[in-house]
Each structure stands twice: as structure tokens, then as C-alpha cells.
Symmetry: C2
Subunit: 344 residues, 2 copies
DNA sequence: CTGTTAGCGCCTTCAA
DNA sequence: TTGAAGGCGCTAACAG
């Protein structure tokens, strides 16, 4: 029951026996600066309480040309299974800075995207967060307001707009290090080489993994290519195992692949981590649902969303055009300490 | 690069050689009604194009006291794994009616909730969608603007506010019917009786299942109680199977439970659907990831979100205080046609 | 310290 | 068919 009828600042001022100006100053916390008498202040605050006054933010926005609102334009993020955490992070940061989020989902349609950007600019949003579900490098829409846009989970091919991304390469190194630290020194394969052209996650993760293995003087067993889906991973690994391969460790490029891999291993009677150690990427809920839980390198979506908002609201803070957020390791129980030297 | 500087309606009018009034009429599609000359109209539209004019929605809102914006207040929906589809549905419907969504997540904090409602009312949202992650029956916050609020996925204990909910009971009947149609007539158990007090989904699903079984003169084997999580379902079913029980069919009260059930069955060497038929609720992505895919009764979140927006924007349409949306069956491969009579 | 005056950009009677 | 004028509610110079 938010009465919210027609109580205006003028009403408050009248009741408090001051001018609207004075009331405005007080309500905007400028009473000290303006040296308003404590008495006037008290009377105004009373009037506000008595009348149940609430400022009309539209009117304020019309004057100040600022709305304390951030526009979020996404492809499928809001509906996505874990990428929605990007929104959650952004939302939390926005709230902490007294901003609200207006969201718009484009479903990948460039025309809808254009419309949404216009809509939001029309609504005077203070900035726009352009968010993608998967980490991609794209030719960014030309109509985004340059000064006030931050790319989240994607980067501009022209590198003009500031962007926030997970540090995939370091994530790859983390995964590799974790396996190496467990004593795995042979028979380690990567599952899920990514064929999608724009997607960068797979490529970078793989690069990090390779780098770390090379640095440790250990050779990677090989790379199995498959789509990033449970079913495709299952098919690929199942067939591969069927041809007699017996890996010691598998690096799954995301949690869904890990699920498919678990299914394939199980179908061949191989145990995790007894026979095969598994590690993956994403750190999603799914990782915790697998049995045993798969150790996963987490996509720091919440943190990324938060950082993006900070950058958007704090122009000066922009450390450069690209911010990489660390991917923490979420321990599971999918990695066995390998016998010093495997003797299968 | 949305120039969006300072092109006002007045500029457009000036360039077109008409008054702001005329320009306003034209841009609001009232030129016919106002019998504006086609020539004036053409000139105005040209001016709009030339100047790249965009209306300032704040100014408009100040006048019209309408913002074409819907406030969405959720507990954890936006970050939730599939409940975010509620938002997706609402968003689509909102866009179709030229509205945008402002979202706010309360993380279950009533104080935050109060603040958010105020914020949104201050911003003159045209209505509020109050959304919960799980289907619950709750004492709804008192400060929601009565005329313009729709509850989504929850209902008011006082039954005052209109609400949109999945038709859980019918969903339960659907699940039961599906199993019965496959010839299962004994050894059917339900997994996941829900202990949470406010949650209604489990209770209603179970009621529907029971009703259908009773109607068919078939006795339910029993009900296994466990939390609605993969791990808990696994533990419960695993222990139960360990005590020698051998079900023919299992109805899992959600997809996560189904996942735990699959794990438990697998651990006991029981095959789906060979040894045991399984059906579940939610129809989430997870259902499609299980091997074989589990047949699931879908939570119609997208449709619910859409309907909620319709009701919010179309006061007259409200058919009553509570709208139930049908839960469609999403076929998987987890149900075997039982031998006419089991003879284990 | 406080009030007066002017708009922000748009919509909408009321006259012409 | 079009224009002039007023005001939505609030903020910010600029006086006093």
C-alpha cells in the first residue's frame, strides 16, 4: 500500500513553512553545505514523515539528466543457467551504489539489440553493460554510447570499449598445475576443443594448460574435440575409450563436458578418481552434483559483474581497456594422488 | 554512438516549420485523429530523421505518469538456475508490449525488499512483479502497491493479490498417468517428499499423483522423503536400495532428485529404464543431460512469466485471483514399457 | 540562511 | 488544422 498519491516537495515545504528550495537542499543532504537551520531541517523531516512524502525520481531525472539506472543488454544471459550470475553480481554492485538495473534480452537478434540500446538511451540510463553468455570476441554494436559502456564477458575486436573477462589462460594453468601437483605426469588428455570461431574460452584455457605442461616438461597426451554439451562429450569419450584408450587424467573444458565424461567413464567401468582423475572448468552447480564432485576452475561471474558496474560508474578507475578476473579453483573429489609413477 | 545530445521536440518542430504541439501529435500517432496535413507530417518525420531526434522518456513520464516499465522484485530468481526463465518469459512479454523490466534481487532480506519496492514506486514503474524462486505460499509484503502487483510463482496467504502458478496437481496426475500408461501397476515409489513448510510444489504434486493412482485402482508403493538436492536424493535412495528394495518405477519430485536417483540406481547396477522407470518434475536442462534423458513434467516458467505480465498490464484480463498454468510433459527415454505383469 | 525565478522536455487543454 | 500557454515535480543560479 504505497500511497504515493500526490505529495510533492511543495507540499512538504508548505507544511514545514519553508520554500521548496530549502526542502530540496535538506532532502539532498546539502543542509550543512547550505547552512540550513537545524530547526528548519527538523520541521522538513517531520513534514516528510507526516505526509509520507516520496520524491518523484522522474522529475529529478529530468532536471539532473541522471537516473541512477544501468541498462543491461544481454543475449541470453538472464535465462542462462549460470551466466545469470553475471547479472546477480552486477545487481549487487549496482545496489551498493544506489543504482537499479534495467535489463533487456536480445536473444541474439541484432535488430532487437539496436532497439534496446535506443530504448535505454532514451530512458537516460547512466550507462550500459553489454553482456554475453559465452566469452566471445566480437565486433561490438556500433550504436552503444561510447563513454558509458562496459563489455561484460566479451571483448571488442577493435579493443575500444572497456571489458571485463575471466582470466582463462591463468585458469588453464591452474587446472594443469592442479593435475601436475597430484602427480599426473602422463596420460593426460583435454576434452572439448572448441570449434566455435568467436569463442575464446576454449582456446585460452587450452593455451594455459599447454603452457603449464610444457613448463613442467610433461607432455600432454592429446586433445579430444567435441561440442560443449553433455551428450556430445559422452559420445566422443565413449567412442574413444571404446578404441582402447586408457587415460590417467582428463581436463574437461567445462562442467557439462565433465558430466558427459563421467557418464562415458562409468559406461566403461572406470572410476573417478580411482582410475582417472578429472578436472573441469566453470565451477557451476553442476560440478557439485557429479559424484564424486568434480574439481573445477570457476568462472568468477559474480565478481565480474560487480567489477563491470564499478568500472561503469567510476570512469577514472578504468585500469585499461581490459580487466581480467582470476578464476579460483573449486576443489572436488575427482583427483586422485597418482602413484609416483604409473605402472599400468 | 547514440549522439543523443540535446535534440528536443522543439528543434524538430522548428526545422519542420510547425509547432511543438503538432510534432507531438504526429510522433504519438495521433495525426489522423488530429487531422494533421500529410505535408506537415512528412516534414516532421524528415526533421526527426535528419536531426536524429529521440524523445526523452523521462520528460514524457513526468507528464504522463507512466513509464512503460515493470519492476521485478525477486528473491534469488535472476541468479537461479532455471527459475531465471521466469524472468525471460516476463521479459519477452514485456517487450512485446513495449515495456522494459527493472529488476531487483532481495536475496531474501525483507528490508532490502521494502527498499526495492519503494525505489520502484518512486521510479513510477507501471506495475510490480513479485517473483519467488520456489513455488511458495507466503504472507506477502504489505507495502506492495495493491492495484498494480502480480505474484509470480507464489501466492498470498490472504489471497488478495493476483498470482500465477504452475498447475502442480494436474502435473502430478500427468506424471502418474504417464507411468500407468506404460503399464506400471506396482512397485512405484515417489522420491522427495518435501519437508519445507511454505513450499507447496511437493505437496501438490504428490496429491496429484496419489489421486491418479487411486483413480486407477493402483496402490502407490510408498514415499521416500529427502531434500530436493542431488546428494540427498542419492543418499536416501542408495540406502533404501541397500536395504533390498527393488522398485519398478520412481517418481522424482524434481530433476535434481532424478539425478541423485540415477546415481543411486547405477551404484546398485540397476538400469533405466530396463530395471526401473523414472519420471520427474521441472523439465529443466538437467533432465536432458541425464542418460537416458529423464521424462519430466515441465515447470512452464516462460509461459508463466509471460502471463504474469499480461495480467499486470491488462487489469481487465484478470480471470480471478489465481491463474494456473499447465505443466507439459517433456518426453525422455526413462520409461520402459513394463511387461504386462511384473514377475520379478 | 532562505526564497524567487527559471527551466529540464514533453503533453494537452483551449483558442484561433 | 495548428499554435500559445501552462504545468508535471524537482533542482539550481542568483539574489537578498
Amino acid at each position: 500500500m504505497v500511497g504515493a498519491r500526490k505529495v510533492t516537495l511543495a507540499d512538504v515545504a508548505a507544511r514545514a513553512g519553508v520554500s521548496a528550495t530549502t526542502a530540496s537542499y535538506i532532502l539532498n543532504g546539502r543542509s550543512a553545505e547550505m547552512r540550513i537551520s537545524t530547526d528548519a531541517e527538523r520541521r522538513v523531516r517531520e513534514a516528510v514523515a507526516d505526509l509520507g512524502y516520496r520524491p518523484n525520481r522522474n522529475a529529478r531525472s529530468l532536471r539532473t539528466a541522471t537516473t541512477k539506472t544501468i541498462g543491461v543488454i544481454t543475449d541470453f544471459v538472464a535465462s542462462g543457467m549460470f551466466s545469470s550470475r553475471l547479472i546477480a553480481g552486477a545487481n549487487a554492485a549496482a545496489r551498493a551504489r544506489d543504482h537499479l538495473l534495467v535489463i533487456g534480452e536480445t536473444e541474439g537478434d541484432p535488430e532487437v539489440e539496436r532497439l534496446l540500446v535506443e530504448e535505454m538511451v532514451d530512458r537516460q540510463v547512466d550507462g550500459i553493460l553489454y553482456v554475453t553468455r559465452t566469452t566471445v570476441r566480437i565486433p561490438v554494436p556500433t550504436h552503444l554510447p561510447v563513454g558509458r559502456t562496459v563489455l561484460l564477458n566479451c571483448s571488442d575486436v577493435d579493443g575500444e570499449l572497456p571489458s571485463v573477462l575471466p582470466d582463462e589462460e591463468e585458469g588453464g594453468r591452474t587446472a594443469a598445475r592442479t593435475l601436475l601437483a597430484a602427480g599426473l605426469r602422463e596420460g593426460v588428455y583435454v576434452v572439448g576443443e572448441d570449434p566455435t570461431p568467436q569463442a575464446v574460452a576454449g582456446i585460452q584455457r587450452l593455451a594455459g594448460i599447454r603452457e603449464e605442461f610444457t613448463a613442467s616438461g610433461v607432455a600432454l597426451g592429446g586433445v579430444l574435440s567435441c561440442d560443449w554439451s553433455v551428450e556430445d562429450a559422452y559420445e566422443a569419450v565413449h567412442a574413444w575409450l571404446g578404441r582402447g584408450h586408457r587415460p590417467r587424467g582428463l581436463v574437461c573444458l567445462n562442467d557439462r563436458i565433465a558430466m558427459g565424461v563421467y557418464q562415458a567413464l562409468s559406461a566403461h567401468g572406470l572410476a573417478v578418481p580411482g582410475d582417472v582423475s578429472v578436472i573441469s572448468f566453470d565451477g557451476s552447480e553442476l560440478a557439485t552434483w557429479l559424484r564424486p564432485r568434480v574439481t573445477s576452475v570457476e568462472l568468477p561471474f559474480v565478481e565480474m559483474g560487480g567489477l563491470a558496474v564499478e568500472l561503469l560508474l567510476d570512469p577514472a578507475r578504468t585500469p585499461g581497456t581490459q580487466s581480467l578476473v582470476a578464476m579460483p579453483l573449486v576443489p572436488g573429489a575427482s583427483i586422485g594422488r597418482a602413484a609416483a609413477v604409473s605402472r599400468a
